[in-house]
Each structure stands twice: as C-alpha cells, then as structure tokens.
C-alpha cells in the first residue's frame, strides 16, 4: 500500500526544516507536502489554485496545522476542513507554539483531533513527532473515505 501523504501547514521555513528533519529522524516515510499559508492548504485540499486538477478524493493521512498563518488563519482552515463533507473526517493535529487556553479550546471546539505544543528543545520535538507518527499513522484506524 502506497504511503499516504502528510500535509504540513507551516509558514516558518526554519520550522518546516526542523519538522522535515524530525520526520526523517523518526523514520516516517510518508510524503510530506508543505503548504506555507492557510490558503495554500485549502487549495491543496480542495484542488484549487495551483493544485487545480488534483484528485480531491486523495486525502492526506494527517494534516499538521499551525495556528498562526498568513492569509487564512489556522482555525479558519480547520473550520473549512470540517465544514466540507469531503474532508470533514481527515485527522487534523494542531502543531503550534501557543499554549493559550483559548486557542486550545477553540481548536477542540472545531473538532481538531489533537493539540501539540512544539517544545523549544529540539530533542523533545523529535520525540513528539515520533510519538505522533506512531500514533496517527500506525496505531490509529483511519476514517473511511467518503465517495460521492
């Protein structure tokens, strides 16, 4: 079975690099697609903009979503993912620096599947990515695909 895509929505190049590095160190072989702002993420998911023609039914196995993003904010991306029945079941993990209660609460209200705060310590970050990969990509039973 072909390894499914992981969509990373993150605007900070350093964080992108570190995440990619963490994935590599964690031996996660899934393809990592990076969207550098909220709009790009939505375009990818709904085959709009530069991703016109992409098969919408090919959903990522996991969306890693930062909250603070240019153009469309993370919570709005999440809201639109959940509002569209094609994508409403996709596992979305919030991966962000914020530990504000209201951010956490709002994310869960919008049916985020998980909320992870990026630790400053890179070693711990790698650990977090490892656990997350193991959980979502191996242990977790993915949602059934909706076919229209």
């Amino acid at each position: 079975m072909k390894n499914k895509i992981i969509l990373l929505v993150e605007d900070n190049p350093s964080d992108i690099g570190l995440t990619q590095r963490a994935f590599a160190k964690s031996n996660i072989a899934n393809e990592l697609v990076v969207a550098e702002d909220g709009q790009e993420a939505l375009d990818y998911l709904f085959a709009g903009g530069q991703f016109t023609g992409r098969d919408v039914n090919e959903l990522p196995a996991l969306v890693l979503l930062d909250l603070k993003l240019p153009r469309v904010a993370g919570v709005d991306v999440l809201r639109q993912i959940r509002a569209d029945e094609r994508t409403s079941r996709v596992p979305v993990v919030i991966l962000t620096t914020s530990q504000e209660e209201q951010d956490i609460a709002q994310s869960y209200d919008l049916r985020a599947n998980s909320y992870i705060r990026k630790p400053v310590d890179f070693t711990k970050f790698v650990e977090a990515i490892q656990h997350m990969g193991l959980y979502w990509l191996v242990l977790n039973e993915p949602p059934p695909l909706k076919v229209r």
């Binding site: 350093s14 570190l18 603070k68 620096t97 630790p119």
Partner: protein
C-alpha cells in the same frame, strides 16, 4: 347740673308760695271777724284795720324771710354736696357752656392739666386741646350737641390727647354728656389720663412684635392649631405657610390646610389619614413625619419634616415644620454622583478589559513568536552537532551545548513570564480553600522527586483554610514550598514547615525553612520579577516565582514579607484579606 335738682328747686319755690297762700287766706278769713268782735265803733274799726294791714305785711314779710332763708340753706347744702362729689372724683370733670367756655373744672382736672380752676374758669376749652385738633374737636362737640343724645363715650375718636399747662400732650379717654338749662346747653366731659395704660399697651405691643419677629425669623415654621380632626390655626409664623408652599390666607379657613398644601388628591388623602391617625393616638413619638414631598406643578419638589406636640390641658397642638430640601438635594446629588461613579467605573472597567485583551494578544504573540526562533536555534544547533559533530573539536561541541542550554533557559523565562501574566489576568473565583490539603499534595510531589540521598522533614499544620481562588493559592504554596525545597538542597537535615501564627495581631500563614537564606540588605527587591538572591550556578531559577506569588497575594488584598538570615533559613509570611472569614 341734673334734671332732678331743677325739680327740687321748683318744689322749694312752690312750698314757699303755698305757705304764703295759706297764711294770707287765713288772715283774710279771720282778721275782720276778730276785729268786729273787739270793737263796733267805726273810727276804732278804721284804726284797727290800718294796724291789721301793717300787721299783715309785717307777719308775712317775716314768714317769707324765714321760708326763703331756710330754703336757701337747703340749696347751698345740696350744691356743696354736689361740688364735693365733683371735686373728689378721680376723673377730671369739665363743663363748658354752649360757647365752649369752661364753667366747671374739678380738682382732678386741675391735677391733670396743671391749671387751677380759678385761672381757667370762663376760658375757651380750646386751650386744653392740641392746636392741630382744635377745629375738629370743636366741630365734634357741636355735632354732638345737635344729636340730642345725652351722653357718648368718645372711643370712636381714636387717640384723643389733651394739652397740659406746661405744653405736654397726653392721651385721654373721655365721655361727654349734655344738658339744657334755661335754653342753654351745658356740656360736661369726664376725662381719664390713659398715659399709663397706653404705655402698658405699647409695651405689650412691642413685646408681641418682638415675639413675632423672633418666631418669624426662626428657620422653622411654627403654628398653634387644633386637630379635632379639622385642622384650624390659632397662630402661625411666616415660615409655616412658606414651608408648606401656601399662604396665611389660604390656611385661614378651618381644615383648608390639606387642600392648600397637597395638590395631588391621592397623596393628600394618604398623608391626611396618616397624620390624623398619628395625632389621634396622642403619642408624641408617633407625631413625627419625615421627608414629606411638597410638590407644585411645573416646579422642583421641596421636602419637609414636621412634628406635632400636644399643648397640655388644651385641645391644641404646636406644629413645627422644617425644610429639608437642601439635605434631600444633597442626598440626590450624592446618589447622582454615585450613579455617574458607577458609570465611570464601568467605563474604566471596559477600558481595562480592552487593555487586558491587548495584553492577551501580546502574550500570545510572545508565546508564539519568541518561542519559534528559539526552537530554530536549538534545532539547528543540534543539527550542527549531529551532522558536523565529527569535524568539531571538543571546545566547539561545548560551545554548541552552551548555546542549547541558554536557549532552554530563555524558553523557561518566556514560559515563566507567560505564567506571571496569566496570574495577573486570571479570573478570581473566591471560595474556602483547604491550604493544608494543598500543601500536603505539594509535599507528596516533592518527596517523590527528591534524590534518594536527600533528607527533608516536612511539617504541615493541619486544618488551615483561607478564602481565595484555589488555583492561585496553589500557585503561591507551590512556589514557596518549591523554593524552600530548592534552597535546602545543600542541607544535611532539611526542615520545611507550613503553618499559621499571629503577626501584629493578625493571623498570618508562614512557610519556613532552614535553607541557605539570604542577606536581608539585598532583599528590597525580593518580589520583583527576575530578581534573584543567588547565583544560577548555586541555585537555578528565573526569578519570577516570588513575583508571581506577590501578585497573587495582592490580588487577594493581602500582603507578603520575609525574614531571612544567611545560612540559617528563610520564613515567608503572608496575610490574605478575607482570611478565615
């Protein structure tokens, strides 16, 4: 001169004539018979007749003399009696003839006017009358003469005055009578000097005026009235109708009070009923009515308070009323001020909330944006170490480790600042908090993380509670106990205590340890953020813990302080405002 006396005089004259008539008739009847019996001779008879004639004349003359003299004596006695009555009278008696010339002036009149009867007899009455009044006075007497009324009290003529010989004028009270004798009018006046009674009257009037002035200048309204139950006024001062916003005239009719004072019928009946009920009871304690509004359409309302006091032994009340509008207005002003104050507080609260929201946004930004680069530095330092470690010497690798340590520290600092700011804006939910229970939980955690070779004795006083926010108070105890745990780390036998004692008469909680302590000289900024009393190499830390503790205590309206001695240990005391309530 009275009518009676004139009759008596006439009687006297008739009596004389009658006696004369009887004697004369007897003489005529019997003298000739007697003479005829004595002599028959014509010549002798003629002689006898002549003698008889002379005798008659002599006898009757003597008789007349005797009768008239007797009568005159009687008359004189009567006159003298009259005169002595007149002259001994207390009141002045003055008679004048129709030309108003003085014909009688008694002793009292002499005393009153200072003239003797002799010098004034026959003079015009005018000299006893003030000059300005003479013509009018003369007219009054003439007019009286024409009425035919026998006597009249001169009360109708106010302020009659007389003039003394020395020119002094004085008030008199007089009555006048008239008689007609031989077609001539005689006016008699009886006069009394009323200087004294006038003076008493004036004194009374002045005293009344004084009392009135005093009452009218009182800052209260006073009235004397009956409540039976119709309110009828016997007296009221100027302020009484004034304070009730009516007039003296409107209150003149019995029971006009209610209508005149209370314009709104429903309220009028309410007040009337209450006041009459209170008065009917007769209990002075109940006859007090406060803060009663007196309204007039189109005008600002005024307010009064009133009290009734029964007059002992009489069906009367002394009603006192005072204007309390100013006090009422002041109260209203204060109330308005309070309302605007509330508005202002609300406004400020809104502003404060906005500031808080801004602060939250700032904290968010700090949390998110400052941490990201740190993670980058840490991550890429580690990448450097991992990817290029072999080509770095030991020194180079140490440098990278130091970079990472500093990054961790910075991360901790940022986290602590965020905690501090969260403490400041967290919602407070005050309730009864089991401080001993919280301390026990913390101690259990500390015992779990303590290295095996450390020996720490904990002494937590049981049953300590306080009113406050449980989460925030947990932050306080966590910080203080963690500190004690940290600063006793180099102690062989560490001892940490939490309890309650009395400081300056107030119950204060304390956390005491026998740790490193610090020099009180440098303790001025003990609770400032990032203030540290020890080197990081000795005891790690960011210097935010005590600042956080103090903020929590401040938010509870309490205070915190510490005593310490280097090498001996430290005690932190804190008092919460609502402690144990």
């Amino acid at each position: 001169m009275t009518v009676q006396k004139i009759d008596k005089q006439n009687q006297g004259a008739l009596k004389i004539a009658f006696v004369y008539f009887v004697v004369g008739s007897l003489w005529i009847l019997f003298s000739d018979k007697i003479a005829g019996a004595i002599a028959q001779d014509r010549n002798v008879l003629t002689t006898i007749s002549t003698v008889k004639g002379w005798g008659y004349v002599i006898v009757t003359s003597l008789l007349l003399y005797w009768l008239i003299q007797r009568h005159t004596i009687l008359l004189r006695e009567s006159d003298e009696k009259m005169a002595s009555i007149i002259h001994s009278a207390m009141d002045a008696i003055i008679s004048v003839d129709s030309l108003q010339r003085i014909t009688l002036f008694n002793t009292a009149a002499e005393k009153m006017f200072g003239y003797t009867a002799d010098e004034i007899m026959g003079q015009s009455l005018d000299i006893l009358v003030p000059e300005f009044y003479r013509a009018e006075h003369r007219g009054q007497i003439d007019e009286f003469g024409q009425t035919g009324i026998t006597n009249r009290h001169m009360n109708g003529y106010q302020g009659i005055t007389g003039v003394k010989k020395n020119g002094d004028e004085f008030p008199i009270d007089t009555s006048i009578s008239q008689i007609e004798l031989d077609g001539k009018k005689i006016f008699t006046a009886i006069l009394r000097d009323v200087t004294e009674s006038k003076r008493a009257e004036t004194a009374l009037r002045e005293s009344d005026a004084l009392i009135k002035a005093v009452l009218d200048h009182l800052p209260i309204g006073i009235a004397v009235n009956s409540v039976d139950p119709a309110v009828t006024f016997n007296y009221m001062n100027d302020n009484f109708p004034e304070f009730y916003r009516t007039t003296r005239e409107k209150l003149a009719n019995p029971d006009a009070f209610w209508e005149a004072v209370y314009e709104e019928p429903e309220f009028r009946e309410e007040v009337r009923k209450r006041v009459l009920d209170d008065c009917a009871g007769g209990d002075p304690e109940r006859m007090v009515w406060v803060d009663v509004p007196i309204t007039r359409r189109g005008e600002e309302p005024r307010y009064i308070s009133a009290r009734n006091t029964p007059v002992p032994g009489q069906p009367l009340m002394i009603s006192v009323v005072w204007d309390i509008t100013e006090r009422k207005q002041a109260e209203e002003a204060i109330q308005r001020l309070n309302e605007t104050l509330e508005e202002r507080i609300e406004e400020r609260t809104t502003q404060l909330a906005a500031a808080n929201r801004e602060l939250e946004a700032f904290s968010y930004s700090v949390s998110h944006d400052l941490r990201s680069p740190l993670r980058g530095i840490d991550g890429w330092s580690l990448a450097l170490l991992e990817d290029y470690g072999p080509i770095l010497d030991e020194q180079g690798q140490t440098h990278i480790h130091k970079v990472r340590t500093e990054v961790q520290r910075m991360g901790m600092l940022i986290d602590d600042i965020l905690k501090l700011s969260r403490i400041t804006r967290a919602d407070m939910n005050k309730e009864k908090v089991d401080l001993s229970g919280i301390a026990e939980t913390i101690v259990t955690r500390l015992q779990e993380i303590k290295p095996e070779d450390r020996r720490v004795g904990f002494d937590i006083q049981k049953g300590l509670t306080a009113t406050g926010d449980p989460k925030l108070l947990e932050v306080v105890l966590t910080n203080l106990l963690d500190n004690s745990f940290k600063f006793t780390s180099k102690r062989q036998e560490a001892h940490i205590e939490f309890g309650q004692t009395t400081m300056e008469g107030e119950p204060a909680f304390f956390v005491r340890d026998n740790g490193a302590g610090f020099d009180m000289t440098y303790a001025t900024n003990l609770f400032g953020a990032f203030q540290r009393m020890h080197r990081v190499s000795e005891f790690p830390g960011t210097g935010v813990g005590l600042a956080t503790v103090q903020r929590v205590i401040n938010r509870h309206g309490g205070r915190i302080w510490a005593t310490s001695e280097v090498g001996q240990g430290t005690t932190f005391y804190f008092i919460l405002e609502d402690n144990n309530k």
